[in-house]
Symmetry: C2
Subunit: 335 residues, 2 copies
Amino acid sequence: MHPLGRVTIGDVARTAGVSVATVSKVINGRYGVAAATSSRVRAVIEQLGYESSLVARSLRSHRTHVIGILVAEFEPYSTELLKGTSTGVTGTGYELLAYSGGGRAGEDVGWERRYLSRLSGTLIDGAILVTPTVVDVQFGIPVVAVDPHTGPSGLPTVDSDNLAGAVTATEHLINLGHKRIALLGGRPDLESARLREEGYRQAMGAAGIPVDDDLVRVGGYRPGTSDRPARELLTLAQPPTAVFAANDLSAIRVMEIAQTLGFRIPQDLSVIGFDNVPESTMSRPPLTTIRQPLQQMGAEAMRMLIDLIDGKEREPHLCLPTELVERDSCGPPRC
Amino acid sequence: MHPLGRVTIGDVARTAGVSVATVSKVINGRYGVAAATSSRVRAVIEQLGYESSLVARSLRSHRTHVIGILVAEFEPYSTELLKGTSTGVTGTGYELLAYSGGGRAGEDVGWERRYLSRLSGTLIDGAILVTPTVVDVQFGIPVVAVDPHTGPSGLPTVDSDNLAGAVTATEHLINLGHKRIALLGGRPDLESARLREEGYRQAMGAAGIPVDDDLVRVGGYRPGTSDRPARELLTLAQPPTAVFAANDLSAIRVMEIAQTLGFRIPQDLSVIGFDNVPESTMSRPPLTTIRQPLQQMGAEAMRMLIDLIDGKEREPHLCLPTELVERDSCGPPRC
DNA sequence: CTGTTAGCGCTTTCAC
DNA sequence: GTGAAAGCGCTAACAG
C-alpha cells in the first residue's frame, strides 16, 4: 500500500490476486467476471477502503456523473443558486462540483470559458454557468446559463423577469407618493441591469413623471462599487426621496451611506433593492426588495441541464416571475 | 482540432510545429525554451483558446493549487461557510472546488472519506471537511475539519463555542422568567449537540431549575427530523413555555408547528435557535438565536489549511466565540 | 534549446 | 473468465 493512505486500483488488484482490468470490471459491473472473483475483489475494496479516483476515471471514460456549477465567486447570489441546484440534483444520481476562482474572476471577462476548458471533456458531464460574461455557443459539453450578462442568446438560459420586477419596484415607490426617484443601476454591459433601468423608465413614463437624469447613476453589483454614486446621489442639492438600487447589496450600501449622512430610513429616504438575497433581511431596516426565485432558478437550471445531457428537447429559455417583498425600507415621502 | 471545441496540448503543439513537451514547458514557465519559440507557442495558445486540463495535469503533477471544500449538501450552514472560504482564499493563488454528493450523503456516515478518496492525491492540494462524521487521522493530503461530529480529535479543527452558546441561550430564556424550558436537541452522536445539551443542563442547574426529562427531546439537524419530537413537546399536558432548539432550522420548524397548534410566538411560546443562518431572519417571527460566526469560521479554516499546505506550524484547534442575537421569537412567559 | 520516453490511475478492446 | 496492452492529456526526466 502507498505511503499516505492513497489506495489505487493496483493495490486492490495485487491484494486480491487479480489483474487491474478485472478489478475495473467488478467496479463497473461489467459482465464476464466469476461470482467468486467478484465477491473476493469486493471484499478487498471494502477492506482497503478503496474509492476510484474521479480524475483518473474521467480522463479515460468521459462520463463522470458529476455536474459542474461554475461561479466567479461564492457570494450570496451564487450560493442561493447553489442551494437550488442541490435540491434539483437529489435523486438524479449526479454529484455536484462547484468551482470558483480565487476571487480574481470577478473583474475578469471570460472566466467561464477558462474554467470550462479546465474542467470539461473530463471531470464534468455538463455545466451550469452562473452569470457568465460571454456565452460562446460552442462548449463541448451541455451547458446552461443562469442570468447571463448578455441576456439569453444561443445557450439554454434560466433567468427571471427583470423588466417586470423593475416596473414593480418603481411603481411601488410611485404608489407610496414618491416623485424624485433615483436609480442606482448596474453595469451597462449587463443585460439584467439594462432591463432594470428600462423597467424604471417605463414605470416613470407610465406615471407621467419625467426622469431627472441627475438621479440615474451607474453602480456595480460588487461591494464598494456603488459607494461613490450613492454618495453623489444623496449629496445632491435636491436629493431623491427614494432610491431603486439594482441589486440588494448596493441597496444595503445605499442605506448605510444614507444613515451616515443623517437620513432616517424610511422617513427621509425610501430604498428598494432587487434579488431578495438572505442578507436583505439582516439590514437595518430590513430591505424592501424584488424577489428573484434564486433557489428555484438553480433547481430549474439543473433540470434543464440533465434533460440536455439525456438528449431531451427543451424550451431553451426559462424566465421565472419576480415579486415584491415588502419589508421596512420604504414609506411615503416626507414632502 | 477536435470535434467539439476541446483543444488539447497536442493541438497546440501541432499548430505551433513543436513537441508537446515544449508546449508544456512554456505553459509552466520552465527554463530552456527559446524566446521566439515561446512567443509563437503563446500566440497559438491564445488563438486556439487553449486551457490545460486540470484533470490531466493533476494526474501527473500532484500539485494543482485547488482546494476542496467537501460538504454533504449545499444548505444554509455549508453555504455560509463557503462564503467565508471564498473570502479567505482571495489573494492566495488557490482556486476553490466545492464538492457535494447528490443529497444522499446526509444519511451516510463516512461520506467524507469517500469524497476525499475520489478527489485527493489528484485534483486537490488540501481539503476542508464540513461537519464530517468520522475523522480518520490519515488522509494523504492536508485536511482541516469544521465542526466535526465527534469534536476535535487528531485533525486540525475549527469550531465555535457550543457549550458557552448553549448556556447563553438557556440563560436568556431563564432571565426572561421561563422555568419550563424544553430542549430539542440534535443527534446524540454529534459532539456539538452533546455540548449544547450540556450547556442547557449547566444553565438550568446554575439557576436551580430542575430539568424535567419529558422536556428533553432528540431532533435532528435536517428538515423533517424534528417534526415529531416538536409536536410531542407541544402537545404535552403541561407544555413548555420556551424551547431551545439545537439549530435554527429545527427552531423554525418548532415555530411553524407551534403556530399550527394555535400557539402565538412569543406570547404563548418562546423559541431560541442556534447558528444564525440567514434563514433565521426570514421566519415569522424572526428568530432569536445564537450566532456562530460561520463565515469567519470558513475563512479561518482556509487560512489554517493553507498554512498546513505550506508546512507552517499551527495551533490545531481554533474555537470561535458565539453570541446572542435577539430578534422576536422570545419573550416573558404568559402567566 | 528541443524532442523522445515513460507513466500518473483508470477503462477498454482483444487475445488467451 | 481473465489479463496484457494501449491510451486519455499532461509533466518530468533524459537524450540529443
